[in-house]
């Protein structure tokens, strides 16, 4: 810290410094010596050595851009806004009141680590009314309690927004509660099994080491009874689900893994108790408590890992409640005939109300179209992926998503009735996505269980003929050793570790097998806008009158798109617009004072050239449109783009750029990044065609986009990654979502996927090999039951440890990609 300079007393320090406060934290500068740091070509005061250290630390990490972002207001603070659900009238529906206090559970997105959780908790705790704020990191829930009522909600929502978190009332709490209970039960069973196993193994040790047979029958009996007590605890608590599962399966005349497991456990326990009770055990007959507990423990460990993974995906999978919007925009006309919009809770809508739903939003209740044209997405209701066009008079079901256009709807049924009707289909969809977990392995496994039982039976019959006293032991050993535990553990263990490694860089998997599909990728197709470049959020008018801004702003009203938001942010007053329509990937259309206008891509608005074109309908013109103005959105190349592309190149995948933007601009970006394959002027359909063509050429394509103009393309590639979570479509359509908006997450995901595939293959090979090799040993009587349990245990352990090494692979990748 030799750059430390000024030691001026406070009275002579520049007054501005004191007024400004600390350069790092903004607190007033204390009197006395003033510390300064060299920033922005000047010596800036800091209040203490802590802030000074923080400044140098940020600078050393190359993060001093933080100060620029903060000053420019581009950081989170600028985004501080109160979301629509937080208005007191709407929020009243979401909070629970308890006397003087109110409680609210919020689902937070933007949480990445314990530090984020800390920030959210402490940031809220400084609000005077808040009594309790606690974040659950695993479920991304924030539990809040404050004194007062719904009037405090806007302040809370604003604070969270200012901290950079997106918060919404958590609604699928019933499902979350169910998962929480399942998790607790699983953990309790596993814990009991672990403790009991350790204890029984310790008690068995006396027997294992009793080589000189100097253990008297009385002591032996005592040790065995102690084991019996503990084993009974285990069988009645931890192992209970196996017996229940086997019973259920048998009642339905099916074979599941529970059947051979329950059989092995029941035989081992029953036989041991009989041997003990008849006194044979004390004479030296072998009991099977040790095999029994080890077997149970490792089975439970596998199930626990599997359940954790299932819960993780369930948490990111939207439920019915999540799909329905948090708020609705109701239109009300007053006596003067003026239209007013008000934000209400969907449950407050009554039949006959008029509501406004624009592109990207979901219809909250059963309704009928009053005005407007739009395409609807109904796939989660009907399973039909193709968009459904609708116009005035059409009935719209609750949960339908408006893809383009703005609809004015008449409410036909209150939200609760409509949404209840949709429940069965939504549940079916949820179950379908769960069933997709490991279908092939399940099918193989089902035959395997029958095979396993037959082999055990065969071995039993054989040994009854050869040596009847050994038959029981061999049947038991065969049942245990043939259990495909390691096999069933291999996939969930590897996937969990892979998913967790991705999560550390803000990547979320949309489907559980996304990573396995990512591994064999040969070509990465990148979108330009929003992916390789980022818009600066400002627009410039290249040609046309200043009055064009107001028209453009009117056309973009209520549309949820970064470009539209840039127009909406303009200060001009927008005139009223009717028949507003959005064509995804093209632009918006609307009628102002009886004249139809279009705003969007040049081709869409009947013009040539680049930029965003505003034109009005003109029957005289050959194209049918006259150009009024041309706008251009400013964009810059993402700083990490060259590095990310170099990393992808090093991983041996080909790169291509596919953009809907004008070819000149695409060519410039391609040249800057050294990309040889590029294509501009691609409409969403052209993008789909291009992807289909590339796939026909034998390429396995990963598509990376921001999901705003290219939602169809996300579905058209083998695997897709949406950079940023700006639109709900992207999150639904993409296989992976990068919440961090960092291009380096692409090579990271690819690296993890390849490591996962390698480890998974080795694991499956090992587990299958173990079963194939070990079964003959058990059948020929070379393996005793306790050795079988040990073998099974070890093979499961090896599989788990091997999968765990993915975490280390992930750390190495992170180190390489995010170095300094």
């Amino acid at each position: 810290m030799n750059t430390l300079s000024a030691t001026a007393p406070s009275e002579t320090s520049p007054p501005s410094a004191v007024a400004e406060g600390c350069y790092h934290c903004g607190l007033p500068i204390p009197p006395g010596e003033v510390l300064t740091v060299p920033a922005e070509g000047d010596a800036k005061p800091v209040c203490c050595h802590g802030c000074e250290a923080a400044y140098y630390w940020l600078k050393d990490q190359g993060l001093d851009r933080y100060y620029a972002l903060r000053e420019a207001g581009l950081g989170h603070a600028a985004k501080a806004e109160v979301p629509a659900w937080a208005s007191p009238e709407v929020a009243a529906r979401y909070i629970t009141k308890d006397g003087e206090n109110a409680e609210l559970v919020l689902a937070l997105s933007g949480l990445r680590c314990a530090a984020c959780a800390w920030l959210a908790e402490k940031g809220l705790a400084t609000l005077p009314a808040v009594q309790h704020a606690q974040v659950q990191l695993a479920t991304e829930r924030l539990h809040l309690r404050w004194s007062g009522d719904e009037s405090a909600v806007p302040a809370i929502a604003e604070r969270l927004s200012a901290l950079g978190f997106e918060a919404a009332p958590a609604r699928s709490e019933a499902a979350a509660e169910l998962r929480r209970r399942e998790h607790r039960k699983g953990l309790a069973r596993l814990g009991i099994a672990a403790l009991v196993t350790m204890q029984i193994m310790m008690l068995s040790l006396a027997d294992y080491l009793d080589l000189l047979s100097d253990l008297t029958p009385a002591y032996r009996q005592l040790l065995l009874w102690a084991q019996a007590v503990l084993a009974t605890v285990l069988v009645t608590t931890s192992a209970a689900p196996f017996f229940q599962g086997a019973w259920r399966a048998l009642k339905q005349k099916q074979l599941t893994m529970d059947v051979p497991v329950a059989l092995a456990l029941g035989l081992a326990y029953g036989a041991s108790i009989v041997l003990l009770a008849t006194g044979k055990a004390a004479q030296g007959a072998h009991v099977y408590f040790d095999s029994l507990v080890m077997f149970t423990f490792f089975l439970l460990a596998g199930r626990y890992a599997e359940a954790r993974l299932r819960h993780q995906f369930a948490e990111s999978d939207p439920t019915l409640e999540d799909l329905l919007p948090l708020t609705a925009l109701r239109l009300r006309s007053n006596e003067a005939g003026e239209e007013r919009r008000e934000t209400v809770h969907p449950m407050d809508l009554s039949p006959g109300d008029r509501i406004l739903v624009s592109a990207g939003q979901t219809v909250p209740c059963e309704a009928q179209v009053l005005e407007g044209l739009a395409a609807l997405r109904l796939d989660h209701l009907t399973g039909e992926a193709a968009p459904e066009p609708c116009g005035p008079g059409a009935a719209v079901p609750a949960g339908a998503t408006v893809l383009d256009g703005v609809l004015t709807l008449t409410v036909r049924q209150p939200a609760s009735e409509g949404s209840l009707a949709a429940l069965p289909t939504l549940l079916a969809r949820a179950r379908k996505s769960q069933a997709g977990e490991t279908p092939l392995l399940d099918r193989i496994a089902r035959h395997f269980f029958a095979f396993q039982l037959l082999i055990a039976l065969g071995a039993g019959v054989l040994w009854l003929a050869l040596a009847p006293e050994r038959a029981f032991e061999i049947v038991l050993a065969t049942l245990i050793i043939a259990c495909p535990c390691a096999l069933s553990l291999a996939t969930p263990a590897a996937r969990t570790t892979g998913a967790l490694a991705l999560r550390q860089q803000g990547l979320r998997l949309g489907r559980s097998d996304s990573l396995e599909r990512l591994a064999p990728i040969t070509l990465v197709v990148l979108d330009k806008t929003g992916t390789l470049t980022e818009p600066t959020g400002t627009l410039s008018c290249l040609e046309g009158p200043a009055s064009a801004w107001a028209l453009a702003k009117a056309l973009e009203r209520d549309i949820d798109h970064p470009l539209a938001r840039a127009f909406q942010a303009r200060p001009e007053a927008a005139p009223a617009v009717s028949a507003q329509r959005v064509v995804v990937g093209e632009g918006a259309e609307g009628c102002i004072d009886g004249i139809t206008y279009r705003l969007g891509r040049p081709r869409f608005a009947g013009a040539e050239g680049t930029g965003v074109v505003l034109s009005k309908a003109d029957p005289q013109s050959p194209s049918g449109w006259t150009l009024l103005a041309r706008f251009q959105s400013q964009e810059t190349l993402r700083p990490e783009a060259p590095e990310a592309l170099a990393a992808l190149h090093a991983q041996g995948v080909k790169l291509a750029l596919l953009s809907g933007d004008h070819s000149d601009r695409v060519a410039a970006v391609a040249a800057e990044l050294g990309l040889e394959r590029w294509e501009g002027d691609a409409t969403p359909e052209a993008k789909l065609d291009a992807l289909a063509r590339l796939r026909a050429e034998g390429e396995r394509v990963l598509y990376v986009g921001d999901g705003l103009n290219d939602a169809p393309a996300l579905g058209g590639a083998e695997v897709s990654l949406a950079l940023g979570a700006e639109s709900r479509f992207a999150q639904d359509a993409a296989d992976m979502v990068s919440f961090r908006r960092d291009l380096r997450t692409v090579p990271y995901a690819l690296g993890i996927a390849r490591c996962l595939r390698r480890r998974l293959h080795r694991n499956l090979l090992w587990a299958a090999g173990y079963n194939v090799a070990a079964v003959p040993l058990a059948v020929t009587g070379l393996v005793t039951p306790w050795l079988a349990a040990l073998g099974m245990t070890l093979s499961s352990l090896i599989v788990l440890v091997h999968a765990q090494r993915l975490a280390r692979d992930g750390a190495q990748l992170r180190g390489a990609l995010w170095k300094a």
Partner: protein, 56 residues
Amino acid sequence: MESLIVLIPLSVLLILIALKAFLWAVNSGQFDDLDREAARILEDDDLPAGKEGRSP
């Protein structure tokens, strides 16, 4: 050796007590969120600053 007659049943009893304690911990939600709780110990909550203290 005779002491084992007392000690072994005692160890079984201790295990049962430990199991009971573990079940209580699980059911009171202490294992619900391990990621967050692991970091809570590192936080400086014992500072008397409180709500009236510094502005955020």
